[in-house]
């Protein structure tokens, strides 16, 4: 083969529907619908194709871009590019007061606003040494587990959507998710941007009717999961497409700082609800499901099993919630100035460990406000998982990582 590779007289274009056609005279093509195809001349291996998947892409869970280099259909290199949703949330945090940052945390991982709020409230309460009353702790657990149900339902739906099941499992999942969102709306006023936790407790108390509605939802959720699993879990197509795809070894997972269901699918037993025992989680009895293979199917199944454990926790919490205040009497809403110091508070969010690192210098604004985003860090090994797989698998593997760009980019 000569060094100088001749200009190709034809190129094959790949559009997102999978068809192909012959085009003359171009070595790089801009296509409508978002993919940009460039032929990369590599005299040794033949043409390697560099495809830029995204940022406008229906399967990338947000404005997320993957520069994928393909040898045929096999992935040779994959570089994730993000930052399209970067709003410099951490700088905003330095310029607003502690309370005013709470609505901004809703918008981090915009699907799970209650757990983001709790992580931030926990970090600030650690920083200021603020205790929380018991009823508020129970409410927090109930809402966090409802959020976990929300998120895992959402993921189950979207993963199936990514495999090409064109919406049916997604819509069934969302039908159930709507019920939880309605609960959030009647409690905090807003479906997703709840702005509910405060430093020292919760903002609004849950009425007995709300608790009854939550109990009813929890009791019906197992049936929904049974039906959903009947639809999906034994499905041969899903099994063929997700088993042994995107295998993540436990050593790599631990070294890469992966947390959450992705880590537990690889077999590592590390769940902050058991390890840190924050809040009142030690009072509840639940198990931690672990996976064997670390492939995409395991990641999906772990989330389904975690949903069942969440239902268990919810039942226990809804039965045991005591009466009482929901906000500590000494909690300050305005003029909150924690003493100088720093604190790192973390919780087991549905996507992984979400933590907030705050440095206070005694003023109403934090000196340094840092979010530890689980989705961002879980993307570290995306390339490792995708190498050697086909491009269709890359979409499914990304779906199983469960990212939300609001959190990746902040």
């Amino acid at each position: 083969m000569s060094d100088q590779f001749p200009e190709p007289s034809f190129g094959v274009e790949h559009d997102s529907s999978g068809g192909s056609s012959l085009v003359t005279g171009h070595s790089s093509l801009e296509l409508p619908g978002g993919s940009h195809v460039t032929a990369v001349h590599d005299p040794f291996h033949g043409d390697l194709l560099e495809v830029s998947m995204g940022p406008h892409h229906p399967s990338t869970h947000g404005v997320f871009r993957m520069m994928v280099t393909l040898d045929g259909e096999t992935i040779v290199k994959l570089k994730p590019v993000f930052g399209y949703l970067h709003r410099n949330h951490e700088k905003l945090g330095e310029n607003t007061t502690y309370l005013s940052s709470m609505p901004y945390t809703d918008r981090l991982d915009y699907l799970n606003s209650m757990t983001n709020n709790w992580a931030y409230a926990l970090a600030v309460e650690k920083l200021a040494g603020q205790p929380v009353p018991e009823r508020a702790e129970y409410l927090r657990v109930i809402l966090a587990e409802l959020t976990r149900l929300l998120n895992h339902t959402c993921l189950a739906g979207f993963l199936l959507q990514d495999t090409g099941a064109s919406g049916t499992p997604l819509m069934y999942a969302f039908r159930e998710r709507e019920k939880i969102l309605d609960l959030f709306e009647s409690l905090s006023g807003s479906r997703m941007m709840c702005n509910y936790q405060r430093f020292g407790g919760c903002r609004v108390d849950a009425t007995p009717e709300w608790l009854a509605a939550a109990t009813q939802l929890t009791d019906g959720y197992n049936e929904f999961l049974d039906e959903y699993e009947a639809l999906i879990t034994g499905n041969e197509i899903l099994m063929a497409r997700t088993q042994d795809v995107g295998v993540l070894k436990p050593d790599l997972a631990v070294s890469a700082g992966i947390t959450g269901p992705m880590l537990r699918a690889s077999g590592v037993n590390y769940d902050l609800r058991k390890v840190d025992g924050y809040g009142i989680y030690p009072r509840f009895e639940f198990r931690i499901p672990l996976g064997d293979h670390g492939d995409t199917y395991d990641r999906y199944m772990i989330r389904v099993l975690e949903m069942r454990e969440s239902i268990k926790i919810l039942r226990q919490a809804l039965r045991a919630i005591p009466a009482g205040p929901i906000l500590d009497p000494k909690a300050k809403i305005r003029g909150f100035r924690p003493k100088p110091g720093e604190a790192y508070g973390r919780i087991e969010g549905p996507k992984g460990e979400i933590g907030f690192y705050l440095i206070s210098d005694g003023s109403p604004n934090p000196y340094r406000y840092r979010v530890r985003p689980p989705s961002f860090i879980n993307l570290t090994i995306l390339e490792d998982m995708c190498l050697g797989q086909t491009i269709a698998d890359a979409v499914i593997i990304l779906g199983s990582v469960d990212i939300v760009l609001g959190e990746v980019d902040r």
Binding site: T96, T97, L99, S100, S101, M102, P103, Y104, D106, T168, Y172, R175, E178, D182, E185, S186, L187, S188, G189, S190, M193, N195, R203, V204, D226, E227, E229, A230, L231, I232, T233, G234, N235, E236, I237, L238, M239, M301, L305, R308, P325, I326, L327, P329, A331, K332, I333, R334, G335
Partner: protein, 261 residues
């Protein structure tokens, strides 16, 4: 594993698919008669039923629908402006004082703008307002074709009467009205006690009290004895300004005369 898949089905290849199809069929058929399966709402012919706590953009509460600008509960203390995270509220205090719904002389907001293209409906302004003057509205069908001026809501557009507040947030509004009435009653009783004390004690100290009362035209502003009692709901902001006792009571209690000098 908790999979409730019947084992005899999984022996056959394709059985998972058939089972899935059975679920889909159940949902399809059920959507014609089972409310669990058919959960869509034909908007806009059918309107959603919003829960009471639902919030969208804020609005200002006025006591008297007949005179909205004159009976705003807002006293332009600018606390909501400071606390608003995206800084979407713009307030200018008035230079003069106008009588409010109870006849007291109050500063009022000459300009009160909310930029709804910036507002994120976080509801912190409502939480920190010491006078229950700003509350969350529930209207969400507010799309407009004008990108700038139509999205900046001015004082006149923001002011809505207390009856409206009762219609959208009934329990909250009743509780607020009750609390304001109780505060006003306590303040009045303190004023009556102070006036009675002044009448029976003809001393220079009393003269100073009289002078203070005459000047303010209302119960003594800065003395600790007449400081309004903070409301018993958690959490009230620690810095309710004692110089301006909470304005206007509920719609029921009419203009009781302020404490005579």
């Amino acid at each position: 594993m908790f999979i409730r898949v019947h084992l005899w089905l999984t022996k056959m290849l394709g059985s998972g698919l058939i089972q899935g199809l059975a679920v889909t069929a159940k949902n399809l058929v059920g959507s014609f008669h089972d409310p669990l399966r058919f959960t869509t709402l034909e908007y806009p012919e059918q309107q959603p039923k919003l829960p009471e706590n639902y919030r969208n953009f804020p609005f200002l509460v006025t006591e008297n629908a007949g005179d909205p600008m004159g009976t705003l509960r807002c006293v332009a203390c600018q606390i909501c402006e400071k606390e608003c995270p995206p800084q979407c509220i713009y307030i200018e205090k008035s230079k003069d004082k106008k009588p409010d719904a109870t006849g007291r002389m109050q500063i009022y907001p000459a300009v009160f703008d909310i930029d709804t293209s910036v507002c994120m409906s976080c509801q912190i302004c409502v939480e920190v307002c010491p006078f229950d003057a700003i509350k969350m509205d529930q209207v969400f069908e507010i799309a407009t074709t004008d990108r700038f001026s139509a999205l900046l809501l001015r004082r006149e557009q923001l002011a809505k009467p207390n009856e409206y507040y009762h219609s959208i947030h009934p329990t909250e509004a009743t509780e607020v009205d009750a609390r304001l009435a109780a505060e006003r009653k306590v303040a009045e009783e303190k004023a009556k006690a102070a006036a009675a004390a002044k009448a029976t004690a003809p001393k220079p100290a009393a003269n100073a009290a009289v002078a203070g009362l005459a000047e303010a035209g209302r119960p003594g502003p800065a003395t600790p004895a007449t400081k309004p009692i903070p409301a018993p709901t958690p959490p009230q902001p620690a810095s309710s300004n004692p110089a301006q006792p909470p304005a206007a009571p509920s719609a029921e209690a009419e203009n009781s005369p302020p404490a005579a000098a």
